[in-house]
């Protein structure tokens, strides 16, 4: 135990000793060295065993020495994990010590045996021997033995998963060691307490025990188990998330384990280090450590650590994305764990039997011991509590394993106890909620509820519980640390064979992530909905399966486009193709669908009849993709309203047609225009158009002309002229008239043209063409010239006639003057008195002379009026005076024929007018004398009046013979009279009305005639009311 003791023993060995003493000393030394130097201890023990059975002890072995050496060997081999050998030595030793009736050693061997069986996993025998050891040691009050036995019993309970019981025994063991002050034992017990508290999930407590244990181990510098203690503390630190400390402990543990050759602690150190590195995503390092650990675990045959290795490995592989390896590791983990659990289950059952047997025996012997009573109660309680679970474990251990390995939380409550307390929770529940089983067993589940938990969901669960029904709710629960999580909870009642409710089983899944995703999804759906509500396009996703089914995977709102709600479209697959689409367009839409079926993208345009009856054009554009897994065709489609575009297209087509029509019309007009029309390119001045009239005029076919210039057809000088004009037109930008231009034609010689040239502008207001329109004015020109000549001649003739008339009149006047003069002188008796006959003759001569004079005057007037030599002498005059003078003159004539002459001046007429009084009198005299001349009975009426503001009128009406209609047309021409039936009395020059008409025209007026043969005539003259000249007013 201590170096001093070993040194002492070694010194004793060095001294001469009796063989027995030597054997005893060797055995004592080996015993002391069994922990620190197992190899030497074995060597020494075998030496002692030989000494005790050979030589002087060959016949009769030295019993004590042999037994002790066997005990040593057994213990040493147990330490070396060679349990079979250890068992055979220990059983031999037990037989010998029993034979020697050495209860103290027997107790030692018993607990060593129990320990070995425990190491072998034979918990039945382990517990059997340990309870025997405990009983024996208690009987002889061997505290060390008691401590040892309690410790191993604890280990057995721990191994079968009854951690609470295990802790109880370890604490008893610790207490015992403390009573005897055995530090190493205390260290062991504390280390075990640490481990079992870990198993119970009480990590803080575990850390306390672990650190105490570590302290003791370091204190006594006990290297051998230090590795394991450090592993324990490291594991607890790991569970407490204190990774830095955990790493520190576990690295030390690995180092020490390797130094001391403790493979088991090395394995565990590697396992937990691997776990930490895995958590820190140092995957390669983790894998390396874990594979070492697996090697050792397989070598040592420790199943639990092995499956733990696989469990961590599976996690690391999963982290690496190597799911195949992860799956393999997980399968290995699962198989092993299942096997271990099955073993545990079978052991546990036996153990309980033993325990109860032991307790029954103990009750008889040690009824007064409180500890045992408590133990019994504890066992009895556990027996009851776990009866159902054990039964099901027996019935289906796989199920239990599955439950413990389920990622879903499983809780079991007992509705037959008050408040329906929890009787079972699986590890996943702890992972999910943070509550260890011991914290929640016996409590009602409501501790999971919190402030935000929906009371309705809770009520639903209560309702289900009350009615023993299955229910599934998702509600917000709270972890131990207060953080909320979404719990998808399924509660099912469990009934026994008799139909009695025995449990409720709750299956819990943390769906927080899913809930969050749902929220996100809901939000994004909301966004999508908003987006779709802002666009009028309709979007659909349709999946076409192998079996020819079409499934709408998604459709956006259709209300804006079609006027029908989305639900209507979704509810009836045929509604769109066979109701919405215009009947004439359905074939087209069906063809598009066939394209989709073949896996081809397609775009078509068709009409839809909206809910309001309005017809719209849409473009249905579907892009096709194949689902990589199902190979189904998925169509991503957009349906857009293109009515406006269609209308624009139609308008454009209509416009184009109109344009074409207009162009045809224009071409027709151009082609059939009886004028030459040509167009030239504004740049090159090459002909671009040349119409039929142009072809005919110039004598060239348009095919010869188009594309060529003037220089190709006309003499240089002419072409220069044309081009110069063209350039002028284009430069000015407006039209130019060329009144006359001559052109050399092919068949018609030189022709004279009137040409109009104008620029034709393009859309940018730049000249594109030069337009020319030419009219052949050769003939017209000739005609005009002839006409002008004729007019000149006529004018000349007229001038000569007037000249002649003037001359005649002038020449006639002088002789007429002589005739008149002499006759008058005769009449007045200047040349002597005349007889009556002579007197009468003079009157006739004078009368004729006056007639001739009148005729000369009229001829002169006529001539002057015709040559425009008459000018009016406009002055103001008094109308009544003018009329009176005429009336006075004419009254004589009228009375001589027995006719009445009346004049009437309308009151509205101004008394003073402006005009040529003499000419007006001439007009009146002419008309009145004419009227008198052609009237036999009745009379002549003269009226002067004002028919409107601008004119005054003279009207002369008679009751004479009238003028026949055919004569009315020429009555105002000179030298015309109605017919030859006029009498001598009625003769006149035939110039009177012609002169009247000329004068009226000269005055700006007009004369009209109404007449009926036999009834009379009415001449009406309209004259403008001239302003009165100021000078004479």
């Amino acid at each position: 135990m201590t170096p001093d003791k070993i040194t002492l023993l070694e010194n004793q060995l060095a001294a001469p000793l009796t063989l027995q003493a030597k054997i005893d000393t060797i055995n004592a030394l080996a015993w002391e060295l069994r922990y620190d130097d197992v190899a030497r201890a074995i060597q020494l023990s075998q030496a002692a065993r030989e000494l005790a059975t050979q030589g002087e002890f060959q016949a009769q072995p030295y019993q004590k020495g042999l037994a002790e050496s066997l005990r040593n060997l057994g213990h040493c081999y147990e330490r070396l994990a060679n349990y079979d050998l250890a068992l055979s030595f220990l059983h031999e030793a037990l037989t010998l010590f029993r034979a020697m009736a050495n209860p103290s050693e027997e107790g030692t061997i018993l607990y060593l045996l129990g320990g070995t069986y425990w190491s072998l996993g034979d918990y039945f025998n382990a517990l059997d021997y340990e309870f025997k050891a405990l009983k024996l040691c208690q009987a002889i009050d061997d505290r060390l033995g008691i401590g040892k036995a309690l410790n191993i019993i604890g280990l057995v309970y721990q191994s079968v998963g009854d951690f609470a019981a295990a802790l109880n025994y370890f604490l008893q063991s610790l207490q015992t060691y403390e009573e005897i002050g055995l530090k190493r034992g205390q260290g062991d017990a504390l280390s075990n307490c640490c481990e079992v508290c870990f198993d119970l999930g009480e990590y803080d407590q575990a850390l306390t025990y672990g650190l105490k244990s570590l302290q003791i181990h370091e204190e006594i510098n006990y290297q051998s188990d230090l590795g394991l203690v450090l592993v324990g503390v490291g594991r607890v630190s790991l569970a407490l998330q204190q990774h830095a400390q955990a790493l520190d402990y576990l690295r030390r543990a690995l180092e020490i384990s390797r130094e001391t050759g403790n493979r088991y602690s090395e394995l565990r150190a590697l396992l937990y280090l691997g776990d930490i590195y895995g958590r820190q995503h140092e995957n390669d390092l983790a894998l390396s450590l874990l594979h070492q650990a697996v090697g050792i675990a397989q070598e040592l045959g420790v199943q639990q650590e092995l499956y733990e290795c696989y469990q961590v490995l599976a996690r690391v592989y999963k982290q690496l994305g190597d799911f195949e390896k992860a799956l393999t590791a997980h399968e290995q983990f699962y198989t092993l764990k299942q096997k271990v659990l099955e073993e545990i289950a079978s052991h546990k059952f036996k153990i309980l039997e033993i325990a109860s047997e032991m307790e029954a025996a103990k009750r008889e012997a040690e009824a007064q011991r409180l500890k045992n009573i408590e133990l019994e109660q504890a066992i009895a309680k556990r027996q009851r509590a776990e009866e159902a679970l054990l039964t099901s474990l027996h019935q289906n251990t796989q199920l239990v394993a599955a439950i413990n390995n389920l990622s879903s939380g499983v809780v079991v409550t007992d509705p037959n106890q008050p408040h329906n307390p929890l009787v079972f929770v699986n590890p996943a529940f702890t992972d999910m909620t943070g509550y260890r089983p011991d914290e929640v067993i016996g409590k009602n589940c409501r501790f999971l509820q919190g402030p935000e938990t929906d009371p309705l969901a809770v009520a639903e669960i209560r309702q289900a519980l009350a009615h023993k029904k299955v229910c599934k709710v998702t509600l917000l629960n709270y972890r131990k640390d207060g953080t909320p999580f979404w719990n998808e909870l399924t509660v099912s009642p469990v009934f026994d064979a008799q139909g009695q409710l025995i449990n409720f089983v709750g299956l819990q899944n943390d769906v927080t992530q899913r809930k969050q995703m749902e929220e996100t999804l809901k939000k994004s759906e909301d966004w999508l909905r908003r987006i779709f509500s802002t666009i009028s396009d309709h979007i659909y996703v349709t999946e076409l399966t192998h079996t020819g089914q079409s499934v709408n995977r998604f459709i956006s709102p259709t209300e804006a486009l079609t006027g029908y709600p989305q639900e209507k479209i979704l509810a009836d697959w045929d509604f769109w193709p066979s109701t919405l689409i215009h009947p004439d367009d359905r074939a087209r839409a069906a063809a598009q669908f066939q394209c989709f079926v073949r896996g081809e993208s397609s775009e078509v345009e068709y009409r839809l009849t909206r809910a309001d009856g309005r017809l719209i054009w849409v473009r249905d554009s579907g892009r096709v993709e194949r689902d990589p897994l199902s190979q189904n065709v998925i169509v991503y489609g957009v349906v857009s309203d293109i009515t406006a575009r269609k209308q624009a297209e139609e308008a454009l087509a209509k416009r184009s047609a109109e344009l074409e029509e207009a162009l045809n019309m224009l071409n027709g007009v151009i082609e059939n225009l009886p004028a030459m029309l040509f167009m030239k390119d504004a740049e090159s001045l090459h002909f671009t158009h040349f119409n039929k009239a142009a072809e005919e005029l110039v004598g060239l076919e348009r095919a010869e002309v188009i594309g060529k210039s003037d220089y190709d057809f006309f003499p240089q000088e002419q072409a220069d002229f044309f081009v110069a004009k063209d350039r002028e037109v284009l430069a000015k930008g407006n039209l130019v008239d060329i009144a006359e231009e001559s052109i050399q034609t092919v068949h018609q010689g030189v022709r004279l043209l009137y040409t109009r040239k104008a620029p034709i502008l393009d859309a940018h207001r730049k000249p594109k063409y030069l337009l020319g329109v030419s009219v052949d004015i050769t003939e017209r020109k000739q005609a005009e010239e002839a006409l002008a000549q004729a007019r000149d001649q006529a004018l000349e003739a007229s001038r000569l006639k007037s000249q002649l008339l003037a001359k005649v009149s002038h020449e006639l006047r002088t002789p007429l003057g002589a005739i008149l003069g002499y006759t008058e002188l005769l009449q007045y008796g200047v040349f002597g008195p005349l007889s009556d006959e002579q007197q009468k003759a003079t009157v006739e001569i004078i009368d004729s002379t006056q007639y001739l004079t009148h005729m000369v005057n009229e001829l002169l007037d006529q001539a002057q009026l015709e040559t425009g030599k008459v000018s009016l002498n406009i002055r103001s005059f008094i109308l009544a005076d003018m009329v009176n003078q005429v009336e006075t003159k004419m009254n004589v004539l009228a009375q001589s024929k027995g006719l009445t002459l009346t004049t009437d001046i309308a009151a509205e007429l101004p008394s003073t007018l402006a005009g040529d009084q003499k000419r007006l009198q001439q007009i009146l005299l002419n008309l009145i004398s004419n009227a008198i001349k052609f009237t036999q009975t009745g009379g002549v009426q003269v009226r002067l009046y004002q028919p409107d503001l601008a004119y005054w009128a003279i009207q002369v009406a008679d009751t004479g013979i009238g003028i026949p209609p055919e004569a009315q047309a020429y009555i105002f021409e000179p030298f015309q009279q109605v017919d030859g039936s006029i009498t001598r009395e009625q003769t006149g020059t035939g110039l009177g009305l012609s002169i009247v008409k000329h004068l009226v025209s000269l005055m700006g007026g007009q004369i009209t005639l109404e007449s009926k043969v036999g009834q009379g005539s009415i001449f009406t003259i309209l004259l403008p009311l001239n302003p009165i000249p100021e000078k004479t007013a």
């Binding site: 009149s809 002038h810 006047r813 002589a818 008149l820 008058e824 002169l860 030599k869």
Partner: protein, 124 residues
């Protein structure tokens, strides 16, 4: 009592005679048949009435009328244009005191000449 002087400028002898006969009772008649002589006489004589033809040898009637109108001493002389030229007759209506288109009635001429005669020309 001295008769007023009537100057007849007329190259047609018959008409000159007729005008003379028409006016001889009231006027002292002086007949001249050409323009030059007429102008020369008019420088000295102060006729009360001039009967003036227009188409005259040497100097036209218009020219003579112009001269008469320019002479201070002939301010009271009345000019009766007697012409066969209707156009010229029209043109002279402003400057002549009277324009008569041939044929002219001797009675009418005498009456008009009497009417035109200035009242204060009645001298002894």
């Amino acid at each position: 009592m001295t008769k007023l002087l009537a100057l007849i400028v007329e190259d047609d002898k018959r008409l000159a005679e007729i005008f003379s006969l028409a006016l001889q009772k009231e006027f002292e008649i002086k007949v001249i048949s050409d323009g030059n002589t007429a102008l020369a006489l008019l420088a000295e004589l102060i006729p009360a009435v001039v009967v003036l033809d227009l188409h005259l040898p040497h100097i036209s009637g218009e020219k003579i009328l112009q001269k008469i109108r320019s002479y201070e001493h002939l301010a009271k002389t009345r000019v009766i244009v007697a012409t066969a030229d209707a156009q010229k007759a029209d043109q002279l209506r402003e400057t002549a005191d009277l324009v008569l288109l041939k044929p002219i009635s001797p009675n009418q001429l005498r009456e008009l000449a009497m009417r035109l005669r200035p009242p204060d020309t009645v001298i002894d």
